[in-house]
């Protein structure tokens, strides 16, 4: 039996400043929780230059379900965390992204996109107005590129501090709040996409109520010296289990969330990737501050005139998973796109995927064919998310 994964590799190429593929070096970087992962029996894999847990002994399916039923703890310290500060920061960041940051209220978080001159997406990220600075979290595989881009473009307008070894933990699931509230009761009142400075067992942490699973939950930024202790404290709670990158991927797929490098890339615009909702009104053609970011002309034109292809959810009609790279055709045999993420959704109990199709095929319910191992498999365009999102919007 061939134990190698069939199809596309999971991780995007991670090149450092000199073009060396970090994922192939033997000296993968370690997060502050590396020893803890080993102790927990994690299966470690190289990812974006780091040694990361893909799963623990429970396995991907059980870790996934645990997150939707109780609370999962994820180490996402490989991601880039930045503190950007200075009076001109919001406007400077706006010059790189089609989102509203100038009017982002204090302690609120927003999903954002770094664009390139073609209107394509360089990376997707989270920006938080943290009071005296902006807190930015970027994808691990893009952080070298993102930081260089920001330094080059706006380094003169604001101070960009990279929190090099800072840890980032995600606590996700319906019971995440009751767990974290044991240590920081104020977390319970936080609404989705807000931030707070919370004392967790004597450690001051910037916490946001957000995540990448579709569930309620928090992301907790912790100084490296305290990360192991706080992680163990949370894992000691009966509701909490450790969850790896494997389940992180199946959770976000069910939630309809993009994975940069797969569902989003430099050649795809936010309009094509169905992320119009992320493009703030104030930055649109009729807004207060229209354009003013790379590729604005292309993006505004697409908003006005439409696009040729769109990102949609794909539901295989049978039990066979349809994975990344599978070509999509109409029932009549006309090529219409490809699958960019695909797998099996343990909560759904069925295969689930997302991909790009021609706009004429983008209506939910449209029947298409996906090619898997030389055969045509019936699939259907479906709305996302596949599993109901359960963000906390208040009582």
């Amino acid at each position: 039996m061939g134990m190698h994964p069939v199809g596309q590799p999971d991780e995007p190429a991670n090149l450092n400043a000199t073009g060396i593929n970090m994922s192939e070096t033997n000296d993968s970087a370690k997060t502050a929780l590396h020893d803890l992962h080993i102790e927990l029996g994690a299966r470690m894999v190289p990812f974006a230059g780091y040694s990361m847990p893909v799963q623990y002994p429970a396995g991907i399916a059980r870790e996934h379900q645990h997150t939707r039923e109780q609370a999962g703890l994820f180490d996402v310290s490989h991601m880039g965390q930045l503190r950007v500060s200075g009076a001109d920061t919001a406007a400077a960041l706006e010059s790189l992204m089609p989102v509203d940051l100038v009017d982002l209220p204090a302690m609120k978080q927003r999903y954002a996109l770094l664009t390139n001159p073609r209107g394509g997406v360089m990376d997707d990220l989270m920006v938080t107005h943290a009071g005296d600075h902006f807190f930015v979290v970027v994808n691990a595989a893009c952080k070298v590129q993102d930081i260089a881009h920001m330094r080059q473009s706006i380094g003169q307008r604001c101070d960009i501090e990279v929190l090099e070894d800072q840890a980032l933990l995600a606590l996700q699931g319906p019971l995440a709040s009751q767990v974290l509230a044991r240590f920081a009761p104020a977390c319970a009142d936080m609404l989705f996409m807000t931030a707070a400075n919370l004392d967790i067992d004597g450690v001051e942490c910037l916490v946001t109520r957000s995540g990448y699973t579709g569930e309620d939950g928090y992301e907790i930024s912790i100084p490296p010296a305290e990360a192991d202790r706080i992680a163990r404290l949370l894992l000691d709670q009966p509701e909490v289990a450790p969850v790896g990158l494997g389940a992180r991927d199946s959770l976000r797929l069910e939630a309809g969330l993009c994975l940069y490098g797969h569902d989003l890339d430099a050649d795809t615009t936010p309009v094509e990737s169905s992320l119009l909702w992320a493009l703030s009104k104030s930055r649109r053609a009729d807004g207060d501050r229209p354009g003013g970011y790379p590729g604005a002309e292309t993006i505004l034109q697409q908003i006005a005139q439409g696009v040729q292809r769109k990102r949609v959810g794909i539901r295989p009609l049978g039990r066979m998973p349809v994975r990344e790279g599978a070509p999509l055709t109409t029932v009549g045999g006309q090529g219409t796109g490809r699958v960019t993420s695909g797998g099996f959704g343990p909560t759904l109990g069925a295969p689930v995927a997302m991909g790009y199709v021609g706009v004429e095929q983008a209506q939910p319910g449209t029947r298409l064919l996906a090619e898997v191992r030389g055969r045509q498999v019936e699939v259907e365009v479906a709305k996302m998310p596949f599993v109901e999102q359960r963000y906390y919007r208040g009582k």
Binding site: M1, M3, G7, I60, G246, M320, G343, F344, R373
Partner: protein, 123 residues
Amino acid sequence: MSTLKFTEDHEWVLPAEDGTALVGITDHAQEQLGELVFVELPEVGREFDKGESIGVIESVKSASDLYAPVSGSVVEINDELDAEPALVNEDAMGAGWFVKIKLNDPTELDELMEEADYLQDLD
């Protein structure tokens, strides 16, 4: 006397008196793969050479080939695995069998490992 044989690719072959054999993946293999979500089996009647891919085993994250441990043809497939692929995780060495094959050349079995050798190989 029929003896259980093993391949380096973590499959087992259980020959019967009548020139047929059951084929499955080992307990070690199912543990490595994690919970199976889909199993694609060959059609009854399909002929194959040793080493040819005769099926696909899918977990949440990935798909792996099932390679024919010996040459032969498929006489029966385990229908249970269609609805319940996780049966392989529960009982890889028994109820989680994949296919029953007719052997082209029983001497090919001599090239496979005994259980002791397979288990030692795992260490």
